[in-house]
Amino acid sequence: MSASATTATSPRAGLDIPALLKDAALTAFVALILAIPLVGFETFDKSGSTSLGLRTRWGAVAIGVVAVFFGRLVMQVWRQTMLSAQPGQVPLWDRVAGSVPKVKLPFGPFLIVFAILVPILWSGNAYVIDIGITVLIYVMLGWGLNVVVGLAGLLDLGYVAFYAVGAYSYALLYHHFGLTFWECLPLAGLFAATFGVILGFPVLRLRGDYLAIVTLGFGEIIRVVLINWSDFTGGPNGIASIPRPSFFGMPFQAAAPEGKSTFASFFGLEFSPIHRVIFLYYVILALAMLTNIVTLRLRKLPIGRAWEALREDEIACRSLGINPTNTKMTAFAIGASLGGFAGAFFATRQGFISPESFTFIESAIILAIVVLGGMGSQLGVALAALALVVLPELGREFAQYRMLIFGAVMVVIMVWRPNGLLSSREPSIKLNPGKGG
């Protein structure tokens, strides 16, 4: 206590105004230097000339520099008063994050019940349910990637490739063999897992960072092949008119095909397009829940424990007789198949897929969800997916600045909480202190 008392001076005297101003001025100066070339001058296409036109925007530079000055000032003042006001006190968010696992309140079940109720609470609002579907796709992808990154500790930067494989499996199987969504769903997972094994076999014995770059390269390869192999994949135009899933063979249509009844007519309801949206919502909710249950059960199986052990210490695992390559491969394949399921669902939900949907940025978003949520935390991943999908959705007016803010938020959250938003990792197995202490 005495140590903290001597280092942290009293809150009022702690604010060294001249130093703060100097610091803010310095930051603003750096901002000025950074802004001069790219904000200060704007090049534009001159009509009728090959050379570029030039105009200056000193007003924007000035606004930016002033904003940086005051932003830095406020940040430093806030940081200093927060730190010196209550020395030794744990910051607020740390307490919140730390208390989540301790509180006996069932956050998880509560969220699940909420998720089940969403279509009822917002019945008739297809927009909300549609966003709910997007959130759940990302939750599922996040949980799938969590198996690879969070549990097995393998950095996969090309997860979207498996998502793409799943989506194209369904689209192509439908177009060539007329298979339905429900028949394709397991196949999509199988194909994605096969790709995972094919990719994993050569690279999984490599060190972590090489794995990252190879998976990143693999993601690009899949995309390039999808774009260029036009005869098979439709090229950049993608594949359109992918059918929607049916409810036990009953389609969601206004008029039934020959000899069949539609969902609405079977249940004696009046046809409404929202039935399909709600149905899709429950399908992805079920898939996501399945992912969650599978992951939670896997963690308790020997293989899941081997993953976590491998993440912590590979050499110790080797000496205990765990085959690292095979163990990593199962994690990779299971993660890939979950991505494949999500991909097949994505295809049926959109009704149209093209390579545009499977760029690196998607992989980055999924990885960001896993890491921002706190690796290995199922609840954290779900909350991060909710935040990353809904926040940009709220800022639709700033569509132009959406990705700019997204990138900045990623940096800020990482700097603020490097271990993720909810990062209290519970050990899967605990020795019982009562026995044999």
Partner: protein, 305 residues
């Protein structure tokens, strides 16, 4: 034969540009063990500053090419170095010592931020640069009229790369800065105990990487004549591939890897299909990693318990 020679020249030019970017990756990886994902975008910013400076010079009226080129190089290098420094200061330094993935996620966020920042500030359309350095030397001419051309801009790109490599080797091996960099690379904690200013050394490493990336950016905008805000992603990916191929952490390895990637790309586009050149690059990467897991010039890393 003539066709082969021409592709060799093209590949070497491309490879030296990749090599310059790859050195930035390999230096940062060597010293703090992180993949600086935003490095490709630093290169893109270098290319944009180059185009903007050329446009300003055109308005001001400095059109004598050697002088303009010199000014553009200096201006791009200076401002891009400021960006490299700021990126490290904002996104990576607060994360030093936290777990392994945190700086990578921060770097990916930074990369997305920089791309969109340039897109908003300068527009999404491609920026053309009028060809300033034209002409070249015809090395040989075959009977059917195919001439092997070694253009001046290709010469400049290769010459600048060689000069920078000499300067860099000198800096790393002979100067106090290089000594502290090598010390930090071996053991950051011990280096700090012995009075090396680790923060400053890491900052300067980022600045050096950004300088090389800026030069690569200038060369690319002169060589291809068009740039856009997205060029950093693929170039960065290939440069990182080059760094891994050559053995990450090794500077000659990065240059070698860059040249190999450039040659693969040039020859694959020439003899097979231009669409699948990126597939070929990554395919070769996978093959090399299977047989040489530490890259071509990398030291095998012995992991201790």
């Amino acid at each position: 034969m003539e066709y082969f020679l021409q592709q060799l020249i093209n590949g070497l030019t491309l490879g030296s540009i990749y090599g310059l970017i790859a050195i930035g990756y390999t230096m940062v990886y060597g010293i703090i063990g992180m993949i600086n994902f935003a490095h490709g975008d630093i290169y893109m910013i270098g290319a944009f500053i180059c185009v903007i400076t050329f446009t300003i010079l055109g308005v001001v009226g400095i059109t004598w090419v050697p002088l303009a080129l010199l000014i553009v190089l200096i201006v791009s290098v200076m401002f891009t170095a400021a960006y490299g420094w700021a990126v490290e200061r904002i996104a990576y330094r607060p994360l030093r010592g936290s777990f392994r993935l945190a700086p990578l996620i921060s770097a990916i966020g930074m990369s997305i931020f920089l791309q969109n920042y340039v897109q908003i500030a300068q527009g999404a359309r491609v920026k053309p640069l009028p060809p300033l350095i034209q002409g070249g030397v015809v090395l040989m001419e075959s009977a059917n009229g195919f001439a092997v051309r070694f253009s001046y801009i290709q010469m400049i790109a290769i010459a600048v790369t060689v000069i920078l490599m000499i300067g860099l080797t000198y800096t790393i091996t002979r100067t106090p800065l290089g000594r502290s960099q090598r010390a930090c690379e071996q053991d950051r904690f011990m280096a700090a105990l012995l009075g090396v200013n680790v923060d400053r050394t890491i900052s300067l490493t980022f600045v050096m990487g950004a300088v090389l990336a800026a030069v690569a950016g200038v060369m690319v905008s002169l060589y291809y004549g068009v740039i856009d805000f997205f060029i950093g992603f693929l170039a960065g990916l290939k440069a990182f591939t080059a760094a891994v191929l050559g053995g990450i952490g090794s500077m000659p390895g990065a240059m070698l890897g860059g040249v190999i990637i450039g040659l693969i790309e040039a020859f694959w586009s020439a003899y097979f299909s231009i669409e699948y050149k990126d597939v070929a690059v990554f395919g070769i990467l996978v093959l090399v990693l299977i047989f040489l897991p530490t890259g071509i010039l990398g030291r095998p890393e012995v992991e201790k318990v």
